[in-house]
């Protein structure tokens, strides 16, 4: 097993329930103990980080300093942590560009709620913003579970499509048409589009209501005015692909289904990942199973046998399909902080 190299960005991904957030927090603790300045950002709207670190409610999007004394450390050090808030990021973009009034729309507000659809794009913009500040040696990203993670990776592609020229031509045209001052002279081509578009609009208005169509177009135009912030996010995708820039941690646990899902994520994200991809098998029982000697030919001996077999099969599967495999044993303690501490120690080994 090779040493984990130090990088600017570390990404933790995996499907739900494998312990991604706890693992990412443990990594932050481990790196902070070595003296690095660390920012941990969780994009997972499940808010597990809030529970683990007992962060206050309702101020998402703000940076909290987490003293290592919280984990019982004596050293006077800390790391920073933040719960991603798409709304807060959007607000900053609006004020940077003086677009507060335009962004004050029901549609944009709905979109920028967690799960509203702009979460992934906003996260990329936020990470870039934090990287530009150059305050941190490492930024650790706890990404959303499963397919939302793929959305996260592909969000810059989405941005490109969203601001696609032909799309915008229609909307700019519609925007003018709807506010109908009709100043600009129209050539035959735009006239053709406009008749078609108007026909379509009447159908749409039947389904969604006329006000909605108007407001939606206004919202899209407002986003278009701040497109530079969005398009800038495309660079980040390129940077992530560089081995010198990022470490990937794919977290899974000792279940066949979870392992298949990890394999699936790896396949889907292959374009982004590079050699420094580490598969973390969480909640391994091997050390406990080795010390357990149930009476022969009992239900418990059969239970042990099937647990041992399961773990062996999955470990073999993992080392066949992944270059770097890290096994983390289960932490038998109800407290989330103890989990973080127990896992942080295992990064060392």
């Amino acid at each position: 097993m090779k040493q984990i190299p130090l990088k600017k960005v570390e990404l933790f991904c995996g499907t739900g329930g494998v312990g991604k957030t706890t693992m990412a927090t443990a990594r932050a603790l481990f790196l902070a103990r070595t003296g690095r300045k660390v920012l941990l950002i969780t994009i997972d709207p499940a808010k597990r980080l809030k529970q683990i670190l007992s962060l206050p409610d309702k101020d998402d999007g703000e940076i909290h300093s987490i003293p290592l004394s919280l984990f019982g450390d004596e050293m006077d050090s800390s790391f920073d942590a933040m719960l991603m808030s798409p709304g807060a990021t959007l607000k900053r973009i609006a004020s940077e560009r003086g677009l507060e009034a335009e962004f004050d729309s029901t549609i944009i507000k709905t979109l920028s709620r967690p799960y509203g659809g702009m979460n992934e794009i906003m996260s990329i913009i936020e990470v870039q913003y934090q990287l530009k500040k150059k305050t941190y040696d490492t930024i650790i990203l706890d990404t959303p579970p499963g397919k939302h993670f793929i959305d996260f990776l592909e969000s810059s592609e989405k941005i490109k499509n969203f601001f696609d020229k032909s799309f915008l031509e229609i909307f700019e045209y519609l925007g003018k048409n709807i506010h109908s001052d009709g100043k600009k002279s129209k050539n035959i081509f735009t006239k053709l589009i406009s008749t078609g578009v108007n026909k379509l609009l009447t159908y749409l208005e039947d389904v969604t209501g006329a006000d909605f169509v108007r407001e939606f177009i206004d919202a899209v135009l407002a986003l278009y005015k701040s497109r530079d912030s969005f398009l800038h996010a495309l660079d980040f995708q390129q940077e992530l692909k560089q081995e010198s820039y990022s470490n990937w941690f794919l977290v899974t646990s000792v279940e066949q289904q979870k392992m298949n899902e990890a394999q699936g994520l790896k396949d889907q994200a292959e374009n982004f990942m590079h050699n420094d991809l580490f598969l973390i098998i969480n909640k391994c029982l091997t050390p406990f199973l080795n010390n357990w000697e149930p009476k022969a030919d009992t239900t418990l001996s059969r239970l042990k046998k099937s647990m041992v077999t399961r773990e062996a099969i999955l470990t073999e599967f993992a080392s066949k399909n992944f270059r770097n495999v890290l096994k983390f044993h289960e932490i038998n303690n109800p407290s989330p902080l103890e989990h973080v501490k127990g896992l942080a120690l295992q990064f060392k080994a």
Partner: protein, 267 residues
């Protein structure tokens, strides 16, 4: 069957608690009682191979085809519906507002439940954050759409869902402190909704070693320390919540089949 079944079962909870297995096992259980129950994967990736292995009755429809059928029904024309679905406007609408597609799908499901009074649907619902948004979304959409056919439909959906005999929601948890806290938070949030909906909430704990020991007549004193601490913790935090035992099987279809007999508590 002694219990009267509801029309729509929503199985929800955080990632990795076993929602999908439980939703499938519940579908199989209801089917075994002679009910026309069908599983819908909703936000989850469809696992068609597993459905085949289990011979699972499903309500299998994609978001986009559901939206197309829906718009077609509303405008009385399939051609116009497919035309609308191909426009930039709708494509970007769906891309930007993912909840919209799911709301239309939910509307579609309720439409079918109203048409066929014997049908029962089991929704494998998203991790809790999503589930909440899904219900909130209908009132959000009402706010942003205000008029038009969609709003009329949202009102119709609300009427269906507010009928206490129509809906039952099960929050699945694991017997760990973090998971139980999250499940209870979700229970609270759903209970305090201002949608006037009766979710008929109940909590169920999956993967219980305590129940596994009971069923297999294993004395706790024979357990090794790492399992004993699991069982002790479970006793402390689970209390009166119904549990589903740990299943000692490897393939997902055997796990689901072994779970099926324990599903009565969810009906």
């Amino acid at each position: 069957m002694n219990k009267i079944t509801k029309r729509l079962y929503i199985i929800t909870g955080k990632g990795g608690v076993g929602k999908t297995s439980i939703a499938m096992a519940l579908t199989k259980y209801l089917e075994s009682k002679g009910i026309d129950a069908r599983y819908n994967s909703f936000f989850q990736e469809p696992e068609r191979e597993l459905w085949d292995k289990l011979k699972l009755p499903v309500f299998d429809i994609t978001l986009l085809s559901s939206a197309e059928i829906y718009i077609g029904r509303k405008l009385n024309s399939k051609t116009i519906a497919s035309w609308i679905m191909k426009t930039h406007f709708f494509k970007s609408l769906f891309q930007m507002i993912p909840g919209l597609g799911h709301m239309i799908l939910l509307g579609h499901i309720i439409d079918d439940l109203e048409r066929n009074p014997n049908l029962v649907i089991i929704l494998d619902s998203p991790a809790s954050g999503h589930a909440l948004t899904m219900f909130e979304s209908s009132s959000n959409f009402k706010k942003i759409f205000r008029a038009g056919l969609i709003v009329k439909d949202i009102e119709r959906m609300h009427r269906f869902l507010t009928n206490p005999s129509h809906l039952k929601t099960t929050i699945v948890s694991l017997p760990t402190e973090l998971s139980m806290n999250e499940a209870r938070d979700l229970e609270l949030e759903l209970g305090q909704n201002d949608l006037e909906m009766d979710f008929n909430l109940n909590l169920v704990v999956n993967d219980s070693y305590l129940k596994y020991c009971e069923l297999n007549h294993i004395s706790e004193s024979d357990l090794p320390e790492f399992l004993k601490s699991k069982v002790d913790l479970e006793k402390e935090i689970v209390k009166n919540t119904p549990t589903i035992p740990h299943i000692d099987e490897n393939s997902q279809e055997s796990i689901i089949s072994a779970m099926t007999p324990f599903m009565e508590t969810l009906v």
